[in-house]
């Protein structure tokens, strides 16, 4: 077991406030999703469509990226290709510096978290202001997001009131949500106007028309992409879709899964910078296409399915592990089930190999994933990779969790379970000596929370034979 993760887990499990916050929030999300997807047949149909759209877009990924670039370029959007987060960071910095801008207004973007963009820009004296309320809160608190959709969900009103009062000059202490919102609105309004550059993510990029689709409820995304003179959109290469008509089902799936809404307050379709005669909007729009390991993941047909993700966060909401340990315990940008399959593939099993093990494979995530990513199968695959002794492979850190003792244990287990007489003897021994097993290793860990298993004196096999229970 990796000490870092285990320590995080134990700390999180002992934090009653955290557990209450998450249990409440995730329970809420589960109910909301059920309400908005109330017809099981229609929901299933929609998920099948969503899966098909994403799989086809991935099947045609190189062609669609080229088509997207061509359409965007025709529209006046400048397209940049970045192989790594470091390159992407430098590209963003270059664009900002070329306009002599020092302030950036930022909408929510998980890709920017992946890039650790804020820290990078801060290191170059660029002020980055998060404008999504949840991101704004954690930026003030000096923390990272704990959930893909609601980054500050681990904080309650009192904690947020304290953060605002301490960190925003002139802000009174108030736990009234309406007042907290008003403080954020006032503070950020100035920032939108002062920013030389607006940054955003991209939910879907439409290759057919060169259109960037962004969804949001607050309006900060529209502000960041309309008020500053320059807009930089950041996107993972897997976010491209083929045509406009792919959007309605994907939007329905994303929105319903993420927040239990039929539609977000705003669905933003951006196709070009300000055109001649227009009076507002950025005069320059840039699109940064980030690879950062995605083209490597793409090489494997099974692992490629990880790239279907639309970042709705519903797998987190339904995960019994995430609900109890929260997002920070995972120690990486993407937590929860999607994080457990994506992070090891991006950062390596040597660094993140415990994450695929932090799952009972219950399948609750897979059952609700709007694009039907086979999450449990991918978790299992990554567990294979972590202990594999085959050379090569595309997942970094393959075999890094190999252990001789575990290998020998499974060989012994296989031996026992392919030799029925030995198996019967072992079971009989357990029946006699089971109560006296020393509490060490797995048994000790079992017994931290349970009494020891009661092995029966006479196994089923023996009873069937002796009592002629069955016909042979």
């Amino acid at each position: 077991m990796d000490d870092g993760f285990q320590q995080n887990v134990e700390r999180a499990l002992a934090d009653d406030q955290l557990r209450r916050n998450f249990a409440f929030a995730m329970g809420n999300f589960i109910l909301k999703r059920k309400a908005v997807f109330s017809d099981p047949t229609e929901t299933e149909r929609l998920r099948t469509v969503g899966e098909a759209i994403k799989r086809r877009a991935l099947a045609r990924l190189p062609e669609l990226l080229e088509a997207l670039e061509a359409a965007c370029t025709r529209n006046g959007i400048r397209v940049h290709w970045a192989e790594t987060a470091a390159v992407a960071n430098r590209m963003v910095l270059e664009i900002i510096e070329s306009h002599a801008a020092t302030r950036v207004a930022k909408g929510k973007s998980m890709v920017s978290e992946e890039m650790h963009l804020n820290a990078f820009l801060a290191g170059h004296d660029i002020e980055v202001v998060e404008t999504d309320l949840g991101e704004f809160i954690i930026q003030l608190a000096g923390e990272t997001p704990s959930h893909i959709i609601v980054p500050a969900i681990h904080k309650n009103k009192a904690q947020i009131a304290t953060i605002f009062h301490d960190k925003i000059p002139g802000a009174p202490y108030t736990e009234e949500v309406a007042e907290l919102n008003a403080i954020a609105r006032r503070t950020l309004r100035r920032k939108f106007q002062e920013a030389g550059v607006g940054l955003s993510g991209v939910n879907f990029a439409v290759a057919e028309t060169g259109t960037l689709c962004l969804v949001e409820n607050e309006g900060n995304g529209r502000m960041c992409t309309t008020v500053p003179p320059v807009h930089i959109a950041l996107m993972g290469i897997e976010k491209v879709v083929e045509s406009l008509e792919d959007l309605p089902p994907l939007l329905r799936l994303l929105t319903g899964s993420a927040t239990g809404q039929l539609v977000t307050t705003y669905v933003n379709l951006i196709t070009s910078p300000r055109r001649p005669g227009e009076k507002d909007g950025p005069t320059e729009v840039h699109l940064v296409l980030l690879d950062n390991g995605r083209s490597r993941i793409y090489q494997d047909p099974q692992l490629r399915r990880t790239l279907q993700c639309v970042r709705c966060g519903t797998c987190l909401n339904h995960c019994p592990v995430y609900t109890r340990i929260g997002g920070h315990a995972y120690g990486c940008v993407y937590p929860g089930p999607i994080g457990s399959i994506l992070t090891p593939q991006m950062e390596g099993l040597d660094k993140a190999g415990e994450l695929p093990l932090a799952s009972s494979l219950c399948g609750a995530c897979e059952e609700v994933c709007p694009v039907k990513i086979p999450i449990t199968g991918l978790l299992r695959r990554l567990r294979d990779e972590a202990v594999s002794d085959a050379p090569g492979g595309i997942v970094p850190g393959r075999g890094s969790r190999r252990s001789l003792s575990e290998r020998l244990a499974w060989k012994a287990w296989a031996w026992l379970n392919t030799h029925p007489h030995l198996n019967a003897a072992a079971t009989a021994l357990l029946g006699v000596f089971g109560d006296y097993l020393p509490p060490a290793g797995p048994l000790e860990r079992w017994m931290r929370y349970r009494v020891e298993p009661q092995f029966s004196a006479k196994s089923l096999r023996r009873r069937v034979k002796e009592e002629k229970v069955a016909h042979e």
């Binding site: 149909r45 098909a52 086809r56 099947a59 969900i153 406009l244 070009s272």
Partner: protein, 218 residues
């Protein structure tokens, strides 16, 4: 031929095994809904999202607009001079400005008008259409009716023609042949701005308008 990041990324993607993935049928053929039903559904969903909806006529909508503004004590109204809505507003105000807010025409680039845009009380725009099944307006900003109008002022009044209410987004896209000619910006708006980032408690009026009023013109 230089080896750029673009080339390398595309080359890696092309090296990978090809998936055969058929084109999915994205929307089931929906039974055509009556206009009245569509308008009803739109109204219900917008009101559920705290928008105010008034059903008006070609001759009464300007008066309804005046009423909306007066009851809220609106003192300044941002409008688009070169548009049908804008022209109707100018005419009505000219005829009887009593109790109505001062008009602020969006007649120059945002850079010159920023202070005014950020301090007006309200804005009125047309809506290019609406989507009934999810309860959203379709806004199509243009040179004459810029983007910030429906975003910055705390109150936004949208004038929507009932015969532009589509059953679904897919239908709106097809009827409007969006794929042939996308504007700089298209926005679907389903209510006043909101957030639930604090303990999932819903609060309205964050960065976008605090109030959305929709006048559906029959």
């Amino acid at each position: 031929m230089s080896d750029t990041a673009r080339d390398r990324i595309l080359a890696r993607l092309r090296r990978a095994p090809r998936d055969e993935a058929p084109r999915p049928a994205v929307e089931p053929p929906a039974p055509p809904a009556e206009r009245r039903e569509r308008v009803e559904r739109l109204k219900t969903l917008l009101e559920a999202m705290r928008a105010e909806v008034r059903q008006v006529t070609e001759t009464s909508w300007v008066e309804a607009l005046g009423d909306v503004l007066r009851t809220r004590g609106i003192e300044t109204l941002l409008y688009a001079p070169g548009t049908p809505v804008g022209q109707a507003v100018e005419a009505a105000w000219a005829a009887d400005p009593d109790g109505l807010p001062g008009l602020v025409p969006y007649a120059a680039a945002a850079e010159q008008l920023k202070d005014r845009i950020f301090t007006v009380d309200a804005a009125v725009t047309a809506a290019a259409g609406a989507v009934a099944d999810t309860g959203a307006l379709i806004l199509r900003p243009s040179a004459a009716e810029p983007r910030l109008m429906s975003l910055v002022p705390p109150v936004h009044v949208a004038v929507l023609r009932a015969d532009t209410v589509f059953a679904s987004l897919g239908e709106a896209m097809r009827a409007g042949r969006w794929s042939e000619d996308m504007p700089t910006n298209l926005v679907l708006v389903s209510g006043p701005s909101k957030t639930a980032d604090i303990e999932l408690i819903l609060a309205f009026g964050v960065h976008g308008p605090k109030e959305l009023i929709v006048l559906i013109v029959e």
